[in-house]
Structure formats: C-alpha cells, structure tokens
Symmetry: C2
Subunit: 195 residues, 2 copies
C-alpha cells in the first residue's frame, strides 16, 4: 500500500513497465506528452481502477495524483502469478479493459467531432454519471484543475472557462466554487452535449 501526494507522478510514459497498480483511494490523471509539451489527458482514474497493464515493455502513458492517492502495487511477475491462481481475476481485467475501450471510443468521438460546448457538456454529464461512486448526482466534484479539463477535452483553459461561464449564464449549471458544478437543468445539458 503506497501513498501518493497531489502532483506526484507514479507512472511515467516510456519507463519500464515493471509493475501494475490498483487505486484504492483518491484520484489521478493519465496523460501522454508530446516533445514540445503538448499534453493529452486520456482519462481520470478513481478508486477501483487498474493501471499499468502494459503489453509492451514500457508504459504508454504517465499517471499523476490529483487528490492524495492510495494504491496497491504489484510487481509484474506477481500479477502473472495472481492471474494463474485466480482465473476470475483475468476475466475481471478483461471486462475492465473492454469497458475502458468503450470509454476511449466515446472520447475519440468527442475529440474528433464535437464542438467546445458539446465537449464541456459531455464532460460534465460523464462526471455526473461515472466518477467515484453510484448513481447520477446533481452536484459534480471537479478535483482536477481547469488545465486538466482542457487537456482532457482537447481545448484550452480559456475555452473551458468561457464555455462553463456560458452554460452558467444560460441557467444550465451553477458554479458554487471552482471545484464544484451543480447541474441545474440536466435535460438541457444532455441536449448541449449532443448538438
């Protein structure tokens, strides 16, 4: 059991993939970098997420804690032993990977074809449905910075900010503080997410 503080990196793209992680608390961002510093956040990880299932010998992305993260670290060899001993685990990992693949395809649609407004609305909707626990919530926590949201949605900080402001002006959301958004009109949010 390892504790990771906010801003600390616990997986680095390109390094030898010698371990496998299971997040038991906190939140993290997963991202890829280009040589000139451009960044694409490919996802956020919360309690229960598995990370680092690399097929190649190196990690394909970096992972950095947003809120303090607790995680279980398995050496690669130990993972393979676990998989051999508990076939159900392998099935669970396969399901998990398939779920992430579906999410990745949805994100490709967002990045390739949606407008800024649709992206932000889709993001808020997804956060309301998915993140950490159970059923849709009206109050969405955004532990990540605006810059993280921008790099997740393929936008700039300014565009994210402007778009949130506009959604608020239209009465679709409220922004009680920088890390929370209240979904005031979910139906219109869904419409905004789909064009």
């Amino acid at each position: 059991m390892v504790q990771i503080e906010p801003g600390q990196c616990f997986i680095t793209e390109g390094e030898t993939a010698d371990a496998f992680f299971n997040i038991t608390a906190g939140s993290a961002k997963l991202y890829k970098l280009m040589a000139d510093g451009r960044r694409q956040i490919t996802g956020f990880a919360f309690r229960g997420h598995f990370l680092g299932l690399a097929v190649s010998s190196t990690y394909a992305f970096s992972a950095e804690a947003i809120e303090p993260v607790r995680l279980c670290r398995f050496a690669r060899a130990r993972l393979f032993r676990l998989l051999a001993d508990f076939p159900a685990l392998e099935r669970r990992l396969l399901e998990r990977a398939a779920t992430e693949l579906v999410a990745a395809q949805e994100q490709m649609l967002l990045l390739g074809r949606k407008t800024a407004r649709e992206r932000v609305a889709s993001f808020l909707r997804a956060q309301a449905l998915a993140a950490p626990c159970g059923r849709p919530r009206a109050m969405v926590a955004l532990p990540m910075r605006r810059g993280d949201i921008a790099d997740y949605l393929g936008l700039t900080i300014e565009t994210v900010s402007r778009t949130l402001t506009r959604l608020r002006a239209e009465g679709i959301i409220e922004i009680p503080d920088q890390t929370h958004v209240l979904l005031r009109d979910p139906a219109r949010l869904v419409r905004a997410a789909e064009g």
Copy 2:
C-alpha cells in the same frame, strides 16, 4: 465463416451484442455516429482482429466492410464456453484489448492535440508500420476513401486532400494512385508527425 461485401455493415452501434467476430480476411472500418450524422471512425480492422467484445448488452460502435471481409462469427454463449475451455484464449484477448487501449490513447493524443499536418503524417506512418502484415513498408495501401481518413483523423475531406497534396509538393510522399502512397522520405514524415 461469413463473407461481407464492401459498404455492408456487419455490426451496428446500439444493437444487441449477441455475437463476437474474428476477421480472417479483408478490411473494415469501425465507427460511431452522432444524431446529426457526424461520424468518428475509431479504428480500422484487418485480418486477425477480434471485434464485438461488448461488456454492456449492446455494441458501442458500428463496423462496415471496406474491402470484402471474411469473418468467423461466434455466438456470445459459445465465446464464453471457448474461454472456459481454453484459458490461453482469455489471455490472448486480454493482450489484444491492452494493445487496442494503447492505440486508442495514441489516437486521443492525435485528435486532441495534433495539427492537420501532424495527423495525416502520423496516419501514414502508422499505416506503414501496422496494417495487415509485418515490417515497415514504403508503399502504403489506403483501401479506405478520403472521407474515411477524414473521419478517422477528425478532419474534413478537403483538409486531408490539401495536406496530402502539400506533403507531396514537399517531396515527402508520392501518390501513384488514389489508394496508394509511397513514403519517399520517412525521416521527414516522422518529423512532420511530431511537430
């Protein structure tokens, strides 16, 4: 063993996911549609690809043949029996899923952060390395239409066409015919792909 003709759809987004496919010949495009017709192609599938491993009860994407496709179709129940009987298959699917996840993350970087020129160059590079068989080739086959490339790269047909023209004008590629591109200067192509 089923034969699918070009333009024919063999998986439809939203329909009940009752089968699982293995492509044994040909090429196909996988895509998601928005209500107003905007399309994002999430990937191309060639010989050896597994498709339709849905966790949810419905398919998350559609699949349509580009060149004539031959495929093996497994009913969902049969797949589960196969997985139970051949644990190695499950391992293989997990590896496959992990590989696709890495590709999806790379594509998210492309869609979210790369310029049109970088996208087209990255695409040509990837086609040279990956598609159907072995090692890097200088002559890249592009069985898909320009519109498919555009919808894969998050661009318009016009931008894809203009960008290819420009790469040709710079002597980086040649375009002997509409379905082939010759990589004349792979080093510069790589540089064009990374900014």
